[in-house]
Symmetry: C2
Subunit: 319 residues, 2 copies
Amino acid sequence: MSEECIENPERIQIDADSIKHQNQVNLKELINPNKGDNSALLILNQKIDIPKELFYKIWKLHDLKICADGAANRLYDYVKDDESIRTKYLPDYIIGDLDSLSEKVFNYYKEKNVVIIRQTTQYSTDFTKCVNLISLHFNSPKFHSLISNKNALQSNHGIELEEGIHTLYNSMTKSLVFSQVTPISLLALGGIGGRFDQTIHSITQLYTLSKEASYFKLCYITVTDLIFLINKNGTLIKYDPQFRNSCIGNCGLLPIGEATVINETRGLKWDVKNWPTSVVNGRVSSSNRFVGKECCYIDTKDDIILNIEIFVDKLINFL
Amino acid sequence: MSEECIENPERIQIDADSIKHQNQVNLKELINPNKGDNSALLILNQKIDIPKELFYKIWKLHDLKICADGAANRLYDYVKDDESIRTKYLPDYIIGDLDSLSEKVFNYYKEKNVVIIRQTTQYSTDFTKCVNLISLHFNSPKFHSLISNKNALQSNHGIELEEGIHTLYNSMTKSLVFSQVTPISLLALGGIGGRFDQTIHSITQLYTLSKEASYFKLCYITVTDLIFLINKNGTLIKYDPQFRNSCIGNCGLLPIGEATVINETRGLKWDVKNWPTSVVNGRVSSSNRFVGKECCYIDTKDDIILNIEIFVDKLINFL
């Protein structure tokens, strides 16, 4: 079949019921998790630059809050207006090799009984340490009995220093039936837009979690974008028309990692069919946008990365 | 051959003469171009966030300065301290559909005789318009005779409004023998770190220029990184030891676009041989660093993207 590209009007009706889709994403739930899911806000070590009102709202919408190592410094600095505010925004965990965590911030959060776990292994990143910890928190009674052991409080909460979290995770995950695990909505702040190899590392995590711990629904939020993975074989993306009009700008379908084919899109400004896409060949659907009134549909031959421009100043009105 | 990964000491001697390499990059020349090259500084439409002292120095080190559309607003705002400074930093060209250029800024630069070229086509990006213009500037007498035509000043400098630059470029490029074209060192500011689809679009340009206009040596500079393409089949990366010690941090070898194999590296903290690398499989050499005292060597099966962390506050002392 030959490739096609058509330009649509600014708004068109897409009949969601007529589309056979394997996957579904509700845009707003990327930030405001479905109440049936477990949810976690992961803060990575980069300056927090989203508006405070939005940050505080997102914080409250998530069950669990985790700082990756030096991200705790960023949180400490971000909420510095007022000690009474800082005391309200205590993460549940801080984890990493702790080399980038300042002594002042360590002592502050330790005194407030935040669980601070040192993991010294250099063979995994802070991101992986965090993700393993989040999964243990929601799925491992053994982990909870370990860290609630009062004697263990003296020594890294009973977690072996080098890679105790990975050992516990690997042991737990063997007996985990993924399809029976409650989904975890994971919103990550600070993964994109800093050092470029760290940005690309963050993108690899979208692919890795999708394959190795598919109960995670990972999305990165930046001051300009939401970035997440679209599984192959057809995904329906749903949104409220007002939310789309006020908070959403351009989008890009980004074949980072491998060339693929966009089998079909419905409801984009430039809809395509049988459209080969590749970074190497300079053929990427960027600066596109959603014109489906309430939904759009994306069907690709392989998993692909989607970024959606967000207007952070407007989001708060819809959460 | 089986894959290998070894951890090196913090500094090791690499014998550059013993390495057969097809390509060579001098790190400092990415910012301070070789005097034998033509050079251009391209400013894209994103807030300019590198230190002023560095920006002014980089400006002076480049023959040609171009603003992509709204980037002229960014330049105007960036140098606002003092009108006498603003008058010193006038770009040679502003080009784009000009939808994002403010009237005030348009009038300011027009009055200062900056060449402002409108190109309305939506089938190429501002980046492509700029790159075509840069090539015309250095290689096309016809282009110069067009824009120096005084009558043409009234009407877009004699350039056809929709896609005149592309037409001129395509016509010129047919007769261009790439191997005889003076290399153009192109440093681009503002291509990485904004909207994520635009960041990935910028990465596609590294591949595209390398194939379609290989006389360009394109490098992106951000407040944290230099980002450029390493051609396959072996590249020697040279640097002054003091420059490396003061200005350079971590690096990443990023197989954006396609999986490949790192045949060999010499002089990285974690050197590898026959090492398959892929974003999709989560196997990327990030948070690595240069430990070769004066050089390192990277040989990959396919072209690959390299990012090198830079300390922008230190760079100024080495330019």
